[in-house]
């Protein structure tokens, strides 16, 4: 970055320094951002992925009655987690055919883990008898806290990456004065220019989304990143609880009375909530001190049909089922947070909106990817000797391959692992994840050992092949091949198979384009035409100058 070395002509300054800021913030955490973007994109379908990864659970033809499901699971939890100070269940909906519940274990069993969790069959109330897997939740969790490291570290890294992204977006907009002109400009097969055009088109097309998703991503974990106001404002536990109450529908357990009184019917409470918000509007049921005289139950509204994650819930007395309080409003700042949070997760969305989210988010992934590739393409022209690039250049080049093409291979391998690892294997869910990382590490090794172009092409073909064959593997290892899914109207399974083929075609197209691309040919043509090295340099300079406002950037 030349920008810091003082004198430079007035007028040119800001765009130049923003260009430098843009490419460095984009590059430094670019690989992390790419992984966050892609796994986050996939996580918009995490519920569907989770269903696909538990093929033992039958296709859900209609959503079961929430009230009876809640009752069934509450009865089951009384046996599974007796004396628990708090449990909470997420009811099934159109996208979920199982109930996820977690609970604090009773305090009188020391040495045990503080929490338990499980998936339950809504029809029987029993633990689901499906293979052990994290399902789509793996991509979701990886997307903001990674793996193999303490959760807080991961979240701080994700926060730093998001902050870099935010700065990259703002500086990118300042750099890029002719936003709309460039949006309609596309020059195919012209090396750096094409990459730049692609990068610009993708960025401009998704700009509001990219900005929104980056900012709201920071908002989801803002209490972690910016705790100072909270610490200065609240000295007492009671005040802190007030803030928590504005943000969450999880009621906190008070002191149990010690007198055991059975929980009133949960089904009635859910029905009462349905009368208020409509059928299928209930998302979650939380109980504190169930079975005790001091029990409380909160029935919370789900995310469907409202663009806010702010809590709305009814609070009941556990022993009688009497409605104690209605929580439906939070303050304006809390509501703003609720809306921003909801915009990030997109859980309010119907299937059309969800697909839009997915596609624009995929464009965002491509924006980061083309940006990373462009860094290389631009700098290659300035290398003193293109055949022997310096270490930093080679490092970026190899990391690009492993983090872009290699990630596709690894993510698909994760799904292969889900179908191929033996069902009864110990630590099976963990091994699915190990498969993902082992394959990803192998992709990095491959990218380092092979020539650059070959490594790109081979990994893209590997991803295409793995994706294309996944529906076949599914047909061989489950009872639910594509023709059955289509006949049954099982859109989760059919959609997954078709999506795999679409993505396989995308990777194959990229592989073919990369194979056809001949960077040397162009300069060879110029050589015959203009004859000398200095002329070629002049042409290159012209091209750079015409390329955009980025001229002069180091």
């Amino acid at each position: 970055m030349k920008t810091a070395k003082a004198p430079r002509p007035a007028g040119q300054g800001i765009r130049q320094s923003m260009s430098g800021l843009h490419s460095w913030t984009g590059l430094l955490l670019g690989w992390i951002l790419y992984a966050m973007f892609l796994t986050g994109t996939v996580a918009y379908f995490k519920d569907e992925l989770s269903q696909w990864m538990r093929p033992e659970l039958a296709h859900q033809t209609e959503v079961p009655d929430p009230a009876s499901v809640a009752q069934r699971i509450a009865d089951e939890l009384a046996g599974v987690a007796p004396g628990s100070p708090q449990w909470s269940m997420r009811l099934p909906d159109a996208r979920n055919n199982s109930v996820y519940a977690f609970w604090r274990t009773a305090p009188r069993t020391p040495g045990q883990r503080g929490f338990g969790e499980g998936y339950f069959d809504p029809a029987t109330g029993r633990t689901v008898s499906a293979r052990d897997t994290m399902g789509g939740d793996f991509f979701y969790r990886f997307h903001f806290q990674f793996h193999y490291m303490p959760v807080l570290w991961g979240r701080w890294i994700a926060g730093a990456a998001a902050m870099f992204m935010l700065v990259a977006i703002v500086s990118g907009v300042i750099t890029h004065k002719k936003i709309f002109v460039d949006f309609f400009t596309f020059r195919w097969g012209k090396g750096q220019r094409s990459w730049l055009d692609a990068h610009n088109a993708l960025s401009v097309f998704g700009l509001p989304f990219h900005f929104m998703i980056t900012y709201t991503g920071l908002v989801t974990l803002m209490a972690l990143y910016m705790p100072w106001g909270e610490q200065a404002a609240f000295k007492s536990q009671a005040e802190r609880r007030q803030l928590t109450a504005e943000l969450s529908a999880f009621i906190q357990p008070g002191q149990p009375s010690g007198r055991s009184v059975p929980l009133a019917p949960v089904a009635d409470m859910v029905r009462q909530a349905e009368e208020r918000w409509g059928r299928d509007a209930v998302g979650r049921v939380t109980a504190t001190n169930p079975g005790d005289a001091a029990a409380r139950v909160a029935v919370a509204r789900g995310d469907a049909g409202r663009v806010s994650m702010s809590p709305q819930y009814l609070e009941f007395e556990g022993t009688t089922g009497r409605l104690v309080a209605v929580h439906e409003g939070v303050g304006p700042a809390a509501e703003t947070r609720g809306v921003l949070y909801a915009l990030h997760l997109g859980r309010f969305s119907d299937s059309v909106t969800r697909w839009l989210y997915f596609l624009v988010s995929l464009a965002g992934t491509a924006m980061v990817g083309t940006g990373l590739v462009m860094w290389i393409v631009k700098r290659r022209q300035k290398l003193p000797d293109p055949d022997r690039p310096h270490l930093g250049f080679r490092l970026v080049e190899r990391l690009n391959i492993a983090s872009i093409a290699g990630l596709s291979v690894a993510m698909t391998a994760f799904l292969w692992g889900n179908r191929l690892l033996p069902p009864g294997m110990a630590e099976r869910a963990a091994w699915e994840i190990h498969v993902f990382f082992i394959v990803w590490a192998l992709a990095l090794v491959h990218a380092v050992l092979r020539p650059v172009r070959k490594a790109w092409i081979e990994q893209l073909w590997a991803a295409a092949a793995l994706l294309a064959l996944l529906p076949l593997l599914n047909a061989l290892t489950t009872e639910r091949p594509l023709w059955h899914s289509l006949a049954d109207g099982d859109w989760v399974f059919a959609g997954m198979d078709l999506m795999c083929w679409a993505l396989a075609a995308l990777h194959a197209a990229l592989a073919i384009r990369t194979a056809r691309h001949r960077p040397k040919v162009r300069s060879g043509v110029q050589k015959t035409r203009s004859g000398g090295a200095s002329d070629r340099e002049a042409t290159d300079r012209e091209r750079m100058a015409g390329a955009l406002p980025r001229k002069g950037e180091a």
Binding site: M18, Y215, A223, A233, T336
Partner: protein, 96 residues
């Protein structure tokens, strides 16, 4: 002697850049954190003020980073941060 000269040249060449990076990373964060506390001085309910401060902090951080790299010199970058920080510090002081 040459080592010394090398150091001096390094500092002359990269000192301003390193200074700007520090101003952006740490100065920007400090400014955002300060603003998120200063907002408590506003006449509004405490939980609301706390959340407002958190929500706005990332815009302030991003703005500070842009400022640091947009101005003519590292010195101006720091000066700008300090000028904005002063009233925020006064407001934050009153509620801490």
């Amino acid at each position: 002697m040459t080592a010394m000269a090398g150091w001096i040249r390094w500092i002359r060449d990269f000192g301003p850049l390193v200074s700007r990076i520090a101003a952006a990373l740490f100065g920007g964060y400090a400014l955002a954190a300060l603003a998120s506390v200063a907002v408590l001085a506003l006449p509004m309910a405490k939980p609301q003020a706390v959340l407002t401060g958190m929500l706005a902090s990332f815009a302030i951080y991003a703005g500070a980073v842009i400022w640091v790299f947009a101005v003519r010199s590292a010195l101006r970058a720091w000066a700008g941060l300090l000028i904005v920080a002063a009233p925020l510090l006064a407001a934050a002081w009153s509620v801490w």
